[in-house]
Symmetry: C2
Subunit: 235 residues, 2 copies
């Protein structure tokens, strides 16, 4: 239940709950939601940097500018902290992805141009976003050790994202712009092509520049459209 709420409603996990009466968690007693967020952010960073097992609560507390005891008071032990982090970051990443998906050019005038601009937003806001990168890393590294959490993440992360992405490409096809027999496949390939040309430095600290983003998007969309353009006459 608790789990579901956090995954389904991003606003909740982002700490934007109305501080009213809806979310009477045992955790955040009254006001200091900021401190809780600070702890989760710090934990995300340290978990990513050191790995969950090697991450020390002291390091997290220090990064959050908080005493160790406060960490235990807010979230509990390390495993609960990790679960809270994954839920938080999943909610944020998913929200950001859906926000970006809202700008997908479903009935474009200039397919290539508008799809390229969308790819820039996708790469900048989602793929290279610190939350997204952190989440990928955490899931990839620790997923096997927390099967339940992993399953829940799959359900509310990829399980919701991919159909949404595919649906956009299906609409784009039915708008007559491209010839896409399999929207799921096209969606996977589109994402892969955008990723293919991003400088591989972005999971090592530095995010790509705007120019790099644009180049990656341009190359990806160019190839994507050449592969999926509608044939004038016979196919």
């Amino acid at each position: 239940m608790d789990t579901l709420v956090q995954f389904v409603n991003p606003l909740y996990a982002v700490g934007m709950e109305t501080t009213s009466d809806l979310s009477r968690e045992a955790l955040a007693p009254r006001g200091q939601a900021a401190k809780r967020l600070s702890i989760l952010d710090a934990a995300t960073a340290v978990f990513c940097r050191d790995g969950v097992a090697a991450a020390s609560i002291d390091a997290i507390a220090e990064a959050a500018c908080v005493s160790r005891q406060t960490v235990y008071n807010h979230v509990g032990d390390k495993e609960k902290l990790f679960v809270a982090v994954v839920k938080e970051v999943t909610a944020r990443s998913t929200a950001r992805l859906f926000e970006t998906l809202g700008t997908f050019p479903e009935t474009p005038v200039d397919v290539e141009h508008e799809l390229t601009e969308f790819a820039v937003r996708l790469a900048g806001n989602c793929m290279c976003d610190p939350d997204g990168a952190a989440l990928r890393k955490l899931i990839e590294n620790e997923g096997q050790r927390y099967p339940e959490l992993f399953a829940t993440w799959k359900q509310y992360g990829p399980g919701k994202s991919w159909p949404a992405i595919s649906a956009r490409f299906a609409k784009l096809a039915s708008a007559g712009d491209l010839d896409i027999p399999d929207a799921n496949l096209a969606a996977r390939q589109f994402m892969a092509l955008v990723n293919a040309d991003l400088p591989n430095t972005y999971y090592m600290g530095q995010p790509p520049t705007d120019a790099e983003l644009l180049e990656a998007a341009t190359n990806a969309v160019s190839t994507f459209i050449r592969a999926y353009r509608r044939q004038s006459a016979a196919g």
Copy 2:
């Protein structure tokens, strides 16, 4: 120096040195190269499973069926062990990639068919290979903590692999089969497309089945060729 030898000559690091006099390392005194390999393999597995910082030498020793002291005798402390593992796995992966690249269809009769078969080999032997997967994971997680090692890896891993891959696509283009203005870009996109459609379970233990491999290769090559096919008349 030592570093260079191990990276440049895969056979050395794989433990196939002639056991003669060429490689008078302080490490492998005379015969028991098998034990050393066993230690490196076990360390690879445990490092991947637990992360380097959280991996215990005892766990590695147990996995290698060896006493802890023997680990220290052969390789030294944990950092040296990690460096040895990365070199070993890099050498193995690179060797396997180049072996597979040797089967690239440079002057094919049926481009699509032969490129698909190559993609199957590439995915099966390189992308989903345990060594390759382990290496990606280790580099991604620990690269930042070992800048020198990371730099050396980049030099002898991607720095050697990508030009070799690109060169194949350039030859394929000049053979008249495809229209590839930028072989580097095409190579990146080809790899990305093959990866895009592999079941994402392969870094979680189970390798993909032959059928899954073939489907991924088919989809990837189909899209790749549609994007890069030579236009009959004007382009």
